[in-house]
């Protein structure tokens, strides 16, 4: 009899703790999730950019989701340089063909993948970008070649709306 009573109590104890834990988690989650991007931040997800004035060898920097996006109209030399690199020489191997579908236009997040600084144009050992914060060198395809950054600069989702307009996001 007494043994059975103990078991009932154990069950109640475990069940109460379990329900309590689920309840606590249900209350904690909204407290954590409120810090994630809110609806107004998410609403600013895409931008259209007029690129008609951009001449070869120049870069346009636009702000998208609070971050700079580089739109580079590349010269033929830059394209050749980017496409002639061997995959073995890359820290984060990616073909230039995959990064710039239309070889003349390179669209990427202007954010160093090390700690988020904005790299400088036409600088560094690979004629691409150079991050002044901790010395990462990127090539003419925005691929990391030297320095502490682990990955190539990110290519955002974008499309050509028409010959003169790019939609980012």
């Amino acid at each position: 009899m007494s043994e059975k009573k103990t078991k009932r109590r154990d069950f109640l104890f475990t069940a109460t703790t379990a329900v309590g834990a689920v309840g606590a988690a249900a209350v904690v989650w909204p407290m954590i999730d409120q810090m994630n991007p809110d609806a107004s931040v998410k609403a600013l997800a895409s931008t259209e950019v007029d690129i008609s004035s951009l001449t070869p060898g120049n870069t346009l920097t636009v702000l998208w989701r609070g971050k700079p996006v580089f739109i580079r109209r590349r010269t033929q030399e830059e394209i050749d340089e980017a496409r002639s690199v061997k995959m073995e020489d890359l820290i984060h191997p990616e073909k230039d063909e995959d990064r710039a579908k239309n070889p003349e236009w390179l669209v990427m997040l202007g954010v160093c993948t090390h700690l988020g600084c904005v790299p400088l144009n036409d600088k560094g050992d690979y004629n691409g970008w150079f991050c002044p914060c901790h010395g990462s060198h990127y090539d003419t395809s925005g691929r990391i070649r030297k320095g502490p950054a682990p990955w190539n600069m990110e290519i955002p989702k974008y499309e050509f709306v028409n010959a003169n307009t790019i939609k980012i996001g």
Binding site: I32, V41, R65, G66, K67, L115, C117, C133
Partner: protein, 420 residues
């Protein structure tokens, strides 16, 4: 300690103390037996309490005028500097107060390292201190973001991006910290909230830190256990109160020098340019008190390992009581440790210097050697030294070396047997 026997003299006092023994606490704090040989390196606990209170008071008054919004924060800080009555003074005290706080805490920490104050039975005091130090760094970092200048913005970007080094969940954590896809208004408002909260957490931990200190009592320059109270101790009031007060005055002269004569010397000119997400300043440098750790971060060529090395450099301090195998506390009686101690001091200063320089060429090489030595000191030198070092004879009491004999033979014997 005669805490339990204490009885207030007045009837009202007795009535109150029976219901809330605050007067017993006050009596404990006044009579608290303190080693009589404490030197000026021991006055920094009091100085740090002063720094914390200064930061809380000036912070509260600044918060009455500051606006935590990405569009208005920079202007509201200039408004404080130009329009608010004595706003310039309050802000300069608060900004330089952070530097003074760290100056004092580094002296306090290195005093512990020299005299072995982290060793048994004071491990909990030490660990609480390390947690306070971590919270201080978090508060200082978030406070630096609030003026929303270029260094604020890019410092915040770089430091929060450290979390992106965590495999798999890193990017998600960074987005969560930002409340967006970059450092922006949601980041600023939450940093302001946390910057306001942390000093009060520190205050609570300081109470625990002092409580834990009052269990075994202060360590002392000789580093031996003493009988309390005895001829080796003096009451906290008036002896230590006066000594701490004098040291605090000296400290306040240095503090006032910075506030009134060089209020911007420890800051960066770039932070008087409003935050611009399109342009990174040419040379991002954290505040001086974080430079040694910044040098460690940059000396490792891998992102994740760099972050791990930087965090380990701080967290390794928490296990220091177990890494140091020597039974002798004070470096006064440890001829080899004393030398390694000063090499460590030099090593940290060198790390601080190269942390402020560009991470290239000779600076990078020096940073790497200094980083390696930092870890070597804690992970190899300290554990081995405890077994190899031939220590000097430790006195039986604080009084013995001066007067001969010992006022408390029993305690002294106890010490002696522990050493063997």
């Amino acid at each position: 300690m005669s805490d339990h026997d204490y009885r207030p003299k007045s009837k009202v006092g007795q009535w109150f103390n029976d219901r809330l023994p605050l007067l017993t606490l006050a009596n404990h704090l006044t009579d608290y037996p303190t080693p009589k040989n404490l030197n000026y390196w021991w006055t920094f606990g009091g100085i740090l309490t002063f720094c914390l209170i200064t930061q809380i008071v000036t912070g509260l008054t600044l918060a009455m005028h500051y606006i935590a919004h990405a569009d208005m924060a920079f202007e509201s800080v200039e408004h404080i500097m130009r329009d608010v009555n004595y706003g310039w003074l309050i802000r300069y005290i608060h900004a330089n107060g952070a530097s003074m706080f760290f100056l004092a805490v580094y002296i306090h920490i290195f005093r512990s390292l020299f005299y072995g104050s982290y060793k048994s039975p004071r491990e909990i005091i030490w660990i609480l201190g390390i947690i306070i130090y971590l919270l201080m760094m978090a508060a200082a970092f978030m406070g630096y973001v609030l003026p929303w200048g270029q260094m604020s913005f890019w410092g915040a970007t770089v430091i929060t991006n450290l979390f992106s080094a965590i495999p798999l969940v890193g990017e998600g954590i960074v987005t969560w910290l930002w409340g967006g896809y970059s450092v922006d208004n949601p980041t600023l408002t939450r940093f302001f909230t946390l910057h306001y909260l942390i000093p009060f957490l520190i205050l609570g931990l300081v109470v625990l830190h002092i409580w834990a200190l009052h269990v075994p009592g202060n360590n002392n320059p000789v580093g031996i256990d003493i009988k309390k109270p005895s001829k080796d101790t003096v009451p906290f009031h008036p002896y230590i109160v006066i000594k701490d007060g004098f040291a605090l005055l000296m400290f306040m002269i240095v503090f006032a020098f910075f506030v009134f004569y060089a209020p911007n010397i420890l800051g960066h000119a770039d932070n008087y340019i409003e935050a611009n997400p399109m342009v990174t300043p040419a040379h991002i440098v954290p505040e001086w008190y974080l430079l040694p750790f910044y040098a460690i971060l940059r000396s490792v060529p891998d992102k994740l390992l760099g972050v791990v090395a930087m965090l380990s450099a701080i967290l390794i301090l928490a296990v220091l009581p177990w890494l140091d195998t020597s039974k002798i506390r004070s470096a006064v009686f440890r001829p080899l440790y004393k030398q390694f101690y000063w090499i460590l001091v030099a090593d940290v200063l060198i790390l601080g210097y190269v942390g402020a320089m560009p991470a290239e060429g000779l600076y990078l090489l020096i940073a790497r050697v200094a980083t390696a030595y930092y870890f070597l000191h804690f992970l190899v030198i300290l554990p081995v030294l405890g077994f190899k070092e031939k220590t000097l004879p430790v006195p039986l009491s604080i009084t013995e070396p001066i007067l001969g004999g010992s006022p408390n033979l029993a305690a002294a014997r106890n010490n002696e047997s522990k050493i063997e």
